[in-house]
Point group: C2
Chain length 498, copies 2
């Protein structure tokens, strides 16, 4: 207590000292130089912050150069659309409405092809529909006389704006026409309300629609033909990369737990890498969903057909997240304070490492299947290896009591001793048993992942690896070929296993 | 088998009969009535679909009437802004630029107050900044002669559009000014490019900015004063509701596992409710983040100050997700095929139920703390209860071998029998041990949740429950009071604990 008080007064005293010293120093320097020093510090701080900001921006650019390319594409498209203003014949044709082209380009041009097409089609469709509807309302309003016109116009704006806004809350509408609903309200209000003052409404609407079409076409050209970034491709890569990450984090987490070598001293990055893995999987749901939403607007590109089963990727993502949840639980079990004694850990380390490595190699093979879009010829073998490793693990746990109790069993007459030691043993075994059953659970979830990927292979008609190399001697159907290994390969694998 | 065949042929026969009868019927009816019938079916199908759609929309509206109110607000604001067109003096003042007010209302008016303020401030700030910058560029361009003007304008549009688009990829910019960056590009291009043709650029810009200001103010008025929906309040409610859901799903999941009564036959909704709980928690990350993003734009409202620690809610959400992950693992352990024999389950059911019910009552108390924004006086007690239940569980597991082996221990001479039975016992125990250690893990994560909520209480200066009742005998500062129980209470606690 006294010590604490002393410390507090010490702090106060030092503060007083600093205050005093600053007071005795400042008059020497003069107020002008004080301001200069303050300004200098401020500017230095600002420069530092700006440099830090630019460095981070540079890192983002280096990390994913396609982002830079996207920015250049936006700049290019905008400059191109500005030409309409500079070229007199085009300007005369379109008039002041050319600004709609600029606005379209700014609002519609997105990072991925799918998002751009989604926005373009929504914009064109909604503008046209709203335009026609607004004409109808305007005609009705203009027929009903001077005093009713504002009333009818206002009421129609109110009703349609409310209804359309509400439709944006309905999931099926939101998924497909969220942006369209916004544009619908915008165009409808603008045209209906303008109709009250503008005489050549039809001309104006035509000009507006044509400029929007120009902007849309320009966006589509730019997004499709200059370094296109496909949402589908992104989703595909994201899923297979996350699968790899999950495999690595599973491996890393179990490895670290059973690693008794000096190696793990130099692996400072291990925990980071391991953590990143399953956390990336757990947090990528929103990205996956938006990618899948945009991917279905994309035409056939690269290896993907128009009707590529993008929804199946979401299922794979969900099964990966459920596996990542288990890895997270495993991770926290490993991090917890209750640790099994070394000799039990040592005894189980081999088989546990085998389960984790076989599970992660199944995951990696599945990731490869997705990446290459070819059915793997070895996946069944790997899954079998995994299940046999799991069975070995179960067997090993079964045999644990045998290993633990021999010394006590040799002296059966000492009943009390026996009892207490076996008690201790069961407690000791708990962390290992938990670890083992979590790993068994993980392997069953890995199996679920394999099944969802199998479904994807089915839906997207992935080709078999073998089928590509030797099509002639396989009279069977696709499915059997793909899931079957030829003999040579199996022999090689069997040798490798030995 | 024979029965099945019979049934199949029966079905076929009936199909043939129907075919035959339809063939004999249709010529009687003639092609016209066939078309009518087809059309009737089509219309009936369509009507059914529309009815289904409307029913779902109705459900959404009934579920959350504030969505309907938001829609009416949008309709109202749009109708109000349309008045500018109908009233001649206002129209003459603003001219055709009144459409910018409509556009602003459509684009800026969002569901929550925070989102609207975010968009409004971004729009006004970005428009003003871009307007001034565009004036500067226009001035430079106009000074540099006829042939350089388009060049300079084009180059500036290209550079600024690219740079601003890139800035949207930087997380710190994206969090605060994503929408502003878009508006900046839009306004800058429009003003710079228009400058080439429009003579009275300054007048136009002023009109535009004033109409945008009118739209913005209208949006702010509508969103702030007509049934405001606060993003912060939403986040607050979401977190406390999710906490309750997590507690219920933990309870439900363990209850169901140990429930031997006939009661669980009528609880058909149990699995649904239980699943919904932790899955809601796992999937609400994106919602939480966007709510927290918008909440910090909101002024003080209701029980929340301007600088309410919204970021802390994200931490609470993260700790809840990590707990939900464990509940998910627990759930799948319970669902797995390996089940402990009934007598072990029965033996442990009481203590397991105690751990789960104490954990869930801690969660519920924490949820109440958040809901009422008052420090709970009983939380410490509940946490202690939970830890003592966990200790009991650990103790119970420790005593499991004693319970299991007595018959064998009584005949120590039969070594083989002893060995095999103890083997079986360990295997039997695995599911229960896993369950128990997952529950211990869950309780430690519940503790982590309690800590994050404590931090929130500290940051947001929640008041104590008791403090409200008896303020007179507390001369200390708010903060110390809040983190301290008064002596009476502590005595009561100590008594209760004994």
């Amino acid at each position: 207590m006294a010590h604490q008080e002393k410390a507090t007064s010490g702090v106060e005293w030092r503060i007083t000292l600093e205050d005093g010293s600053s007071k005795s120093l400042v008059p020497d320097a003069g107020p002008v130089s004080r301001i200069w020093a303050g300004l200098g510090g401020l500017i230095a701080g600002l420069v530092l912050k700006v440099r830090e900001f630019l460095r981070r921006a540079w890192d983002i650019g280096v990390d994913d150069p396609r982002k830079v390319i996207h920015c250049l594409k936006v700049g290019m498209a905008l400059t191109a659309v500005s030409l309409f203003y500079f070229m007199r014949p085009l300007y005369n044709g379109l008039g002041g409405n050319a600004m709609w082209a600029i606005m379209t380009v700014v609002v519609v041009l997105e990072n991925t092809v799918g998002a751009t097409i989604y926005k373009c089609s929504n914009r064109v469709f909604a503008t046209t529909l709203a335009g026609f509807l607004a004409f109808g309302v305007h005609w009705v309003a203009s027929q009903s006389g001077q005093e009713f016109e504002p009333l009818i116009t206002g009421a129609s704006v109110f009703i349609l704006a409310s209804a359309t806004t509400f439709s944006r809350f309905i999931p099926s509408v939101k998924a497909l026409f969220d942006y369209g609903a916004l544009i619908f309200i915008l165009t409808f209000s603008l045209v209906t309300v303008s109709g009250y003052r503008v005489d050549k409404l039809f001309d104006m609407a035509c000009q507006r629609i044509s400029t929007i079409l120009i902007g849309t076409c320009l966006c589509l050209l730019v997004t499709l033909f200059i370094c296109p970034i496909w949402a589908g491709e992104e989703l595909h890569v994201l899923i297979s990369r996350n699968m790899d990450k999950l495999a690595n984090s599973l491996d890393g987490c179990v490895d670290e737990h059973f690693d008794y070598n000096d190696e793990h001293k130099d692996s400072d990055k291990q925990p980071d890498k391991k953590l990143l893995g399953y956390k990336c999987v757990l947090s990528s749901k929103a990205t996956e969903e938006s990618m899948a939403k945009f991917a279905r607007w994309e035409p056939a590109h690269g290896r993907f057909n128009f009707k590529h089963p993008w929804q199946q990727y979401l299922k794979i993502g969900a099964s990966m997240r459920s596996c990542a949840c288990c890895v997270a639980a495993l991770n926290s079990c490993i991090d917890s304070e209750n640790q099994a004694p070394e000799f039990i850990k040592k005894h189980l380390s081999n088989i546990c490492l085998k389960v984790s490595s076989s599970s992660s190699s199944v995951l990696k093979e599945v990731a490869k299947t997705i990446k290459t879009m070819k059915r793997s010829s070895s996946i069944e073998l790997l899954v079998e290896e995994m299940s046999s490793a799991v069975q070995d693990l179960q067997h090993e746990i079964k045999s644990l009591p045998k290993l633990l109790s021999p010394p006590e069993v040799l002296h059966p007459e000492s009943k009390e001793t026996d009892d207490t030691t076996s008690t201790i043993h069961l407690l000791d075994v708990i962390p290992v048993v938990t670890l083992a059953s979590l790993m068994i659970e993980i392997s069953s979830r890995v199996q679920a992942i394999v099944e969802t990927v199998e479904e994807l292979a089915e839906l997207a008609q992935f080709k078999g690896e073998v089928q590509e190399k030797e099509k002639q001697n396989q009279p069977n159907t696709n499915r059997i070929v793909a899931s079957q290994l030829n003999d040579d390969q199996q022999t090689v694998k069997a040798l490798e296993r030995v």
